[in-house]
Amino acid sequence: MESFIKYSNQSQGRDRIFRATQYACALAKYLLRNDPARKALLVKLRSLESNMSSGRKLFRLGNTVNSIDAAKRTLLLSDPVLRLCLTVANVSRALYFICDNVLWAKHIGLIQGIDKDRWSLNASRYYFVSLLMNLTRDAYVMAQLMVQKSREKQFQQKASQHLNDSPDVACVIIPQLDAFLFLFIESLRSHPAVALDTLKNACDLFIPLDKLGIYQTNAGVVGMCGLVSSLIGILSVLKPNLKIKP
């Protein structure tokens, strides 16, 4: 109970739970869409999903400031690649939140006469850019970790042992590819935060990819990806050591 309260007291924690529920509803709606006996349940799921979505939009009203503040902080990072990736990602997120706030105002009826589709498309574009930047950062951090690991004596011993373990298999698989994959998996295993962040961003990427029409999947895939990324997000708030830094 204690941990639930501490968790949900954090603004981000509650938002992640609602996001998980929203995408779970979307997934359930897709799975049940052809079932005639579940029409009433479908109506409830649709209403719950739209409720969560509009509540979260209201909740997000101040996040532009948060993103700009995060961008100011990442400008001070020492590593130039990280500095570039994270600052562009944060600025892009700030722009996404601005579009999101405008869309909320239109949905409420405070602003009339704006092109909802254009603003929605722009919001998806900025979100997409920020996700790409985050994935670039993940790839860069992974590359650094792999280089660092390959220089470790302990790992070199393990790698040679792995390659000698199954010599007849090694003949079939290209030994360099095998060694590379082994290095990759070992690096991921010793840094779970990076692995989780990469998985989260990769799942999240399907959402704007579908909305922008670059790689159209279906509502079920989008729902599933959204749910998985929200669950990973909840995990990273519950266990702060699983959150990637900076």
């Binding site: 409720n51 209201l58 405070l110």
Partner: protein, 262 residues
Amino acid sequence: MESWVRFSAQSQAKERVFRAAQYACTLLGYTLQRGGATAELLKTIKQLEAHLSLSRKLMRLGNSAEALEAAKRAIHLSDCVLRLCITVAHLNRAMYFACDNVLWAGKTGLLPQLDQNKWSQRSFRYYLFALILNLTRDAYEIRLLMERESRSISAKGSLASPSALSPGPENGEFSLGPSTPSFPALPVLTARLQRQLRLLFSVLRSNPPLLLDLLKNLCDVFIPLDKLGLYSTGPGFVGACGLASSILSILTILYPWLKLKP
């Protein structure tokens, strides 16, 4: 900027801002209606208010657990009056949040056959009980502080003038002369009342958390009184009270020393 980020990271803090916005909409709607605004504008404001109310209900979905935890902590207080008041107030708040969650489920269509009116009345009843207990706790603390203050004043008075037993308006309460009448005359009553009021003001002035809490509860109490029909004031007054109490609670979040403890 730093303070906004820290502020909005607390779930409760954002909820208070939206509460202030909701009651500002109520007040604005009332004033615009009196001033004769267009139906379009009034509809927009009403829509915004309904949206804020429903979203706040969504944000409050986990608060029953929090209120129960607070009640569990309050059971360990040493003072028995405070222990009773605060624990029962938290329990009533937990019941209010439970009814509020049921109302949210009804409003979003998860429970379509729900009698929204009945549950709404129920939730306001629990809210009213919680507020009455909070006010009782405030009154008890004020009484304790006033007694302490008057004791310290009389101690200072007896140190300053050894012949303090002579009856006079400054220490009339402690004069035990044989000529004390059994039914004090009106000027004496007014003097006593004035002295009590002065004591009350000095106690409140030197205890800003208590003053803030008292004002907040007094403003809040008009909302369920109006919604339950016990003392109908009107949407304008309710909106103003709600806005004032939200601003006061935002102040206690921004400046944690202003929060009444325990």
